[in-house]
Amino acid sequence: MITKPTKLKLAALGAFAVVYIIVFWATRSGVGNNWDWIFPYFKGYAPELFWKDISSWSDVGLGAAQSYAPSVLYQFLLLPFYYLPLQPEYIIFLLLVVSFSLGSFLVFWRLNKRVNNISALLIGLAVFINPAIFYKLLAGHLVYIGAYIAYVGLVFYLLDYYRPTVRSSLTLGLLFALSAVQAQFLVFSLITVVLFFLLHKQLFSLRLFALSMLVVALIHLYWVSNFLLGSVSVSEVGKLAQDSTFSQLERTSFFNIFRLTFSDATFISRFYSRFAQFAGLALTGLMLVLLAKKNSDQKQPGFFYGQWVVFVIIAAGAYRDFAVPVVSKIYPLLREAGHAAPLVIFSLLLAVVFAAKSKIAIGASQLAVALVLAFSLVTFTSSLPLVDYQKAREELSQYNAVSDNSTYRVITYPFYNQYTFRSQPQNVKQGTPMSNTGWDSFTIFLGREYIDNSTSNTGVQNQLLDSYDLSALEPYNVKYIYDLSGVYRSSADKFLPLSQYSLDKIKKNNDISFIEKLIERNPGGLYKISDNIYAVSNYRPRIDMAAGKFWRTSRTEYLVQPDKLAGGKITLRSTFHKGWELSIEPRADLSCNVVSEGNVTECLGTNFNKNKASSKTVLSHIKDKDGLNVWLLDPSQVGSQYQYRISFQPDAMHRIALMVSLTTLLSVATLTILVSRKKHDAQ
């Protein structure tokens, strides 16, 4: 027998699903290719969103130690979606409808006991349909949406269920960890938890808080371990983040936050009219009125008022006035002030709904929320960055022609994101593209290693544009050039200053006859494989030596059997890292299924651990002029009786950390579900 409250909840869930199907209906043909959107165009490639980041060594560009990958947890949880036998555009559509419906339902479910159903429905929608979330969808920050839903869960768990017990602390840790799939939430969730305990001191226990934080640390150990073990350094990552920042991203005026348009870098003000902005202002003003008129039941609105103030400071970038020792190290993490925007609106909405007690106040709050919601509904349905995936597939399928299974990199032309599909429309506002200008989601999911074309990586690309000299590619194991100039136009000129990207380069980088010019300037240097795919004649293999064979046994290990070593030299054509180690072992008789032939032959084979030495003789290595790994062996270490194993040492600890993370996640999640079911049955 379905009870009345259950019927109400089911009806609300159904209503949310219907609303979101309507809101996202246009995206069923494809949404993305804008800003940070990354999603494959071809069926079956979506699981790569998880698998590409799971290793301790990332293949992007010339390779790098995996550093900052909290989102792997999010991608892991979404794997069931990614393996659905659907075209990618339907997977995104489904993902958006399901995640937004569940998020809104979560808010409604926790609110409808405290406030009337209309308020609960409106807030349930407005928490997910508002200007800040529009910006997140415009920018393709899907991981953020996942983190945000977990964060909303964390807030309501604290308010409704948290008790100073071990079980509660474990659940709190789990929700905290889930919210931290977007790294900024490590800070945001901590602020929320601290504020909650400030207001509910009787619930605080240092021991239990430490337990919650331990759960967070263990669930995220798979990437935190990269920092703990020294594979990557915090200062390097921080510097990288700081280098890619700009003032519009970091700071904004308070009045922009009050009218819910936030920093200029969010572009919200270009989509929301003056009327919509005044609706935002009215909502903020209402919150102030309610604060001034507040009644005796203060804890919940007080909690949200406190949160609102803190998140406004973060969204405005005002905390940058303080150069607090140690704490200022996390500033680069919070550089994108827009990350706090959804939390400002969430706190605002919850403060308003909890503080409105009189009929007039409730009516006014419903009206203000409904206005913000109505403007946002119009913007969501009309302005999401659409791109036709079917058309993209038709244009890009020709590039799937290469069936070379050896180890190499490709470079795609034109260089430098963002990329615009030439054949698809683009929404331009005040001279800035607002759709159809994003990362190259084709090359990222090509299943091949590639030279990173992001605007921060300008070395080899600049050399090619300046000199048309193919020898620039030689050190980097580039075997193929994909000419995408008929499909893509680089829009880097819209985002880079002329000091970095001259008019001459802009012209050369969007030249559909660029490859012809390369062929002309480098006779015999390129040969055509198929339309728009060219092989590089002077290609050098990933493992380089005078003559010999090598096997790539995994993403982080190579086995090398040289016939001849000129100067005892072995080169691994990947970014230098001290974690790469070469060890000597007795040569084994391995099968060789040739995948690439030359002085250096690459093989596929099996049974690679046949002669793996238990005690290794490890040789140190150096960085060459191109930033690659080079081992110089002395004559006693060279001979036909030896083979060499090159492996990335942090990988072993990374695997252990992964197991710890997975075990903690599954055990705490199982415990939480079992306990909640037991409680539910008991009731």
Partner: protein
């Protein structure tokens, strides 16, 4: 000097309008700090401390002042005077910080 201050305070208190004294103290503290280049947040904290230790203003009252300044900000924004709106928005937010901090410390109404 201390006696003089106490005397002035007592005299002012006789005016039976404690709110005026509070406003004067907070505004002076805030403006002096801001003028000396302490920045918005630090100035707000000093203003808060001034309120907390000197003035017994309820957070509710502070919030109503913040709302007043907020309305002025909205009007200047509507008139397209962004430079003034910027100043008023900072002032409104500073008052709000003080109101919320006061609330958090005192749990008053």
């Amino acid at each position: 000097m201390k006696d003089l201050v106490n005397l002035i305070k007592r005299e002012l208190a006789k005016s039976e309008n404690q709110i005026v004294i509070d406003a004067v103290i907070a505004t002076i503290a805030f403006c002096v700090c801001l003028y000396t280049g302490w920045g918005l947040i630090r100035s707000s904290i000093v203003a808060f401390l001034a309120f907390h230790f000197i003035s017994p203003i309820p957070s509710k009252k502070l919030a109503s002042w913040a709302f007043g300044v907020f309305v002025v900000m909205a009007l200047t924004l509507a008139m397209g005077r962004k430079e003034f709106a910027e100043i008023f928005s900072q002032a409104a937010f500073a008052m709000l910080i003080v109101a919320v901090l006061t609330y958090f410390v005192r749990h008053d109404n």
